[in-house]
Amino acid sequence: MKRSNLKAWLYLLPAIAFLGVFMVYPLIDVFIYSFEEGYNSASQTVFGVGWYNYSYVLHDPYFLQAVKNTLILVIITVPVSTGFALLISVGLNSIKPLRELYQTVFFLPYVTNTLAVGLVFMILFKKTAYTDGLVNLLINWFGGESVDFIDGPYWAKMFIMCFYTVWVVMPFKILILTSALASVDETYYNAARVDGTSRLRIFTRITLPMISPMIFYLIITGFIGAFKAYSDEVALFGTNLNAAGMNTIVGYVYDMLYGNSGGYPSYASAAALILFAIVLTITCVNLLVSRKNVYY
């Protein structure tokens, strides 16, 4: 028994060593940093230990703006993208001709580079000296006023941010949901048909419960992914997100570490742990809700 245990540990050693050095140690380090007040990375000195870093971050208007942006993004994009993905998947599942073509088209954003997509969005939405952008041309054509989506009012920028995020995360959801729908056994539908079940009832009482584990998986990963949003915002609004007022929590962490005002690992660590606490809470709430509504 003991010998085989030793052997097992030996086999696990490489993985444990790597995880320990590159994951566990930094995690602990972040935790420690977040409580070290006035940490100086050059001299490796601290003034003291306490809650000051958290207090600073929570009072920083940039951080509060980032939290607000992130929450709006999460609350809008997760339900909207999952809902649209479900609609599109059901549609894809019920058509025969050109299904492969549509599947490919819907999957394209997933394999396209984020920055390239950001560029396309600039062309569509950005107002420059020469053109108002394609979308504004359309708005003008319908008699509306031009809106600057990239450098204009907050709601317009938020709209673009949500629109972009939904568009980027949907392909993966469609992929997962179409395969989940296809894996539902045909005989359940036949059984329901023989019993005279209406199409709506088949969808709500049979299809949805059957694919509920996948929907739940998408919602959880969707929440986590949206809370971690950063690169998409850079693609849209450039690196100075604070100036654009479109920073996210992860963006704030990055700025604190490396940005122009960077060099504050303690504040960055505190912000990262706050983000962790938020994500953990929401995931736990999700799990509790799912116990009742998800069938495995």
Partner: protein
């Protein structure tokens, strides 16, 4: 409710694009199922029996022909308006619903006046559950039930809305041997108690013969024979039906009629008065062999299997077409397993002649019969 199938035909477009010929799943099926009877649709896989069932329940539309329930033409009705209950091979119980919710499901689909009140629904569910003896299990999920119990839930779900016709698709194939015996008795009992006209599909001839009022033997989309199980067994219309019914299977020999006698190889096994000389297939049921010291059929003995009540004699003969002849004789006959040859006489009623080309049965009279 009697069910009438009239020239029912179902063709599918050929999957093989080079061939433009359609695949005929069911060909010109005409049959009237009497009210309240249990009918077994029997045939090898791919013979069109499941397609026939799907046509009756409406999941598939026939290419030609009509289907009547009583006097109503239901051919163009969708399944939900036909009033059929269908039990699927894999039961298709909704895994996320409890047994009670599963049985309740068809009732909740009803609309308008047909929809019973909540209390009535619960009452009907309980009634159906009691009929199949699962009223103790109503609050379990299907995954917590054994195969036999799931089967009963599926039947209860099909019965709860009091269908005009009950259809069962290979209802026993997912059960183990012992449960199968028990469940087929159950199905018989439930059918008798409710008096609902029932059609069930199976590839297991024993299953079909044991509980059906009538069996329909199909091959390649064509109905071969319809009749009471014993009648079909005793007088098969052709070689296919003869081979398909009975375990162990019928023994088929190459035979010849010559000068008023039936020859298997060199052995003149039986007199055939009034038959012209010709080649024939000869089928002999395993129970048609009688051990006799000077019997006309001389076989080399391969082995003897004692099965308590009966003894199975395994033998070979030059004119035999299969691997080994199986003869079932009463255990009172002690067979010397060391002997090289064994001789049989044949019971005339257990011997059938079939045309070499068409496989149709040839009627014959033997000596002593009128």
């Amino acid at each position: 409710m009697k069910v009438r199938l009239q020239n029912l035909t179902k063709r599918y477009p050929n999957r093989n694009k080079k061939s433009h010929e359609d695949v005929v799943a069911v060909n010109d099926f005409t049959f009237e199922i009497p009210d309240g009877k249990l009918i077994g649709l029997l045939g090898p896989s791919g013979c069109g029996k499941s397609t026939t069932l799907n046509l009756i329940c409406g999941l598939e539309k026939p290419t030609a022909g009509r289907i009547f329930f009583g006097e109503d033409d239901v051919t163009d009705l969708p399944p939900e308006n036909r009033g059929v209950g269908l039990v699927f091979q894999n039961y298709a119980l909704y895994p996320h619903l409890t047994v009670r919710q599963n049985i309740l499901f068809p009732l909740q689909n009803l609309k308008g006046e047909a929809r019973p009140s909540k209390a009535q629904m619960q009452e009907k569910v309980l009634e159906a559950a009691k009929l199949v003896q699962i009223d103790q299990l109503l609050d379990r999920k299907p995954s917590e039930l054994s195969g036999g119990q799931q089967q009963r839930v599926a039947i209860a779900r099909a019965l709860v809305k009091m269908p005009r016709v009950l259809l069962l698709d290979e209802p026993l194939s997912n059960l183990d041997a012992r449960l199968r015996l028990q469940t087929r008795e159950e199905i018989r009992r439930i059918q008798r108690e409710t008096g609902i006209t029932t059609v069930f599909v199976t590839h297991d001839q024993e299953e079909a013969m044991s509980i059906s009022d009538m069996i329909v033997v199909m091959e390649a989309g064509v109905v071969q024979q319809i009749g009471k199980p014993q009648d079909v067994y005793d007088s098969p219309v052709n070689l296919f039906v003869a081979k398909f019914l009975g375990t162990p299977a019928i023994n088929v020999f190459q035979g010849r009629i010559r000068g008023g006698g039936l020859f298997l190889g060199e052995d003149r096994v039986m007199a055939m008065p009034g038959q012209e000389d010709r080649e024939v297939w000869v089928g002999i049921r395993p129970e048609g062999f009688v051990l006799q010291k000077d019997g006309p059929l001389r076989c080399s003995l391969v082995g003897v299997e004692v099965m308590g009540r009966d003894t199975s004699v395994v033998a070979s003969h030059p004119a035999f077409t299969g691997a080994a002849i199986r003869a079932i004789v009463s255990a009172e006959n002690r067979v010397d397993a060391a002997a090289e040859t064994v001789r049989f006489s044949i019971k005339p009623r257990k011997l059938f002649l079939f045309d070499v080309q068409s496989g149709e049965r040839i009627d014959f009279r033997t000596e002593g019969e009128t």
